[in-house]
């Protein structure tokens, strides 16, 4: 459902979010923009796929203490386990990217400015399919 948003079939070490970069003005887009450059001063270039920085610093964070509504997929019969949401500032791209924290990371483990890295995670499992997503993991925490 989010085709091309991150590398597929790469190990945790090589896992990256994928954006696009305008060849004319070098603006970066995530989620990827494949149709047109959104820089109003740009007359338009090609949009080439580019991996985003693996590491960044926490811009802010929060959690979800209540079950979000659909289309978020979760087992309605299971007890709700809060997840964290981490907004991460990528220095090279000069942008903030939101993602879930790795399972088990709580808000008490996080701080603004802390270094985190992107790792593959499981969004949900659907019959035979495991849907992958990206998670932010504080450096020095094993998943």
């Amino acid at each position: 459902m989010v085709a091309g948003w991150f590398t597929q079939d790469s190990g945790e070490e090589d896992f990256r979010l994928l954006g696009t970069r305008c060849t004319a003005c070098s603006a970066v887009f995530f989620p990827r923009e494949d149709s047109f450059c959104r820089n109003p001063a740009c007359t338009g270039g090609e949009l080439a796929e580019v991996p985003l920085s693996k590491r960044g610093r926490v811009w802010s964070y929060t959690d979800g203490r209540y079950r979000p509504p659909a289309p978020y997929v979760c087992d309605p019969d299971a007890q709700w386990e809060p997840y964290t949401l981490v907004a991460v500032e990528l220095e090279a791209e000069r942008m903030v990217v939101l993602g879930q924290g790795v399972p088990g990371v709580r808000v008490s483990d996080l701080a603004v400015g802390m270094e985190v890295e992107v790792v593959p995670g499981v969004l949900n499992e659907d019959g035979d399919t495991v849907w992958t997503t990206w998670h932010w993991r504080p450096l020095g925490v094993a998943s």
């Binding site: 459902m1 305008c22 929060t62 509504p69 659909a70 289309p71 949401l85 942008m95 939101l98 879930q100």
Partner: protein, 396 residues
Amino acid sequence: MTGEVAVLGAGMHPWGKWGRSFVEYGTAAARAALTDAGIDWQQVRSVVGADTMRCGYPGYVAGATFAQALGWQGARVTSVYAACASGAQAINTARSQILAGMADVVLVVGADAAPKGFFAPAGGERPDDPDWLRFRVLGATNPAYFGLYARRRMALYGDTPEDFALVKVKNAAAGALNPNARYRKAVSAEDVAASAVVADPLRLLDICATSDGAAALVLTSMDFARRHGAGDPVRIRAVSTVTPTYPKAVLDLPDIATDSAAAVDPLPRPFRASIALAAYEEAGIGPEDLSLAEVYDLSTALELEWYEDIGLCGAGEGAKLVREGATALGGRIPVNVSGGLASFGEAVPAQAIAQVCELTWQLRGTAGRRQVPGARTGITANQGLFGHGSAVVAVR
């Protein structure tokens, strides 16, 4: 002066969970505004409805829905949608028509019948919709974004959850004096602290509820107002509906990421501040001229950010204002004397119109026990999903 329109009538349906149709609420508010203006419905030459997207087809064509309910009489009709800024866009549409000479008397209506709990995106499998994606991929509800802003303020400025609670205490005290408010009970800081965490660090009482409700205005040309015997009406002097400037560097609903600033430096002024600035520039006033302000307190922490964005204080000084009582009734610059969303809850297409209703009553001096003495100038501020600015300056 040429840019002004008169507010002849303001009306609301009380907010709450009433279990009825948005058409009933909007029609009740419209009739109240017409009565307040002393205008017969048949005199209205244009109807502008703020759309209610979750209420089926009539909600998508709200202008015509209200016109039908009030009785077809051949008026021009418009329906507008801009999420939380729908009401401001409806007011701006009415104003533009009046200033262009297309209509002398325009009725503006917004109404909602909101479901309980989190707002959710439209149904279906729609991966091309950023609003759908943020729920599907991240479970990122609206309060999650409010939590991110609140935590960021704590890290940057040293705001505390106790500061946030002061906003709720203040707005609940004002809302207790407002017969149209849904919640009319005083709230203590202890009540806020005892409520459940929804999105850390924000608790249930830091976050506005969803509500049913409606608000309406009768706007006219200044000439019509004079002929109608209103020599000194409340006037709308500016309406800001600006979009952000690329790159938008603050994470915002419903986006998963900010624009990258790798190619272009962001302006020093964030989007929310640019909304108010555009209104000030159009009105030819500044924050020092304000008697009061109504801002979109989706969360208590967000209200503090609006203080800074509408120029009541510098960046990071919002909590100081609420601690000093400057923004409470009786303070130097009262904010959300209506009780705000904290007391009303969200009825999306109605809220920006309701803010202008409150300014109207305050500037007329008819706000009763929540009156700001001698109020002459007010601003409203809010923001709609996908970069819709919304601010209105009204004067007397």
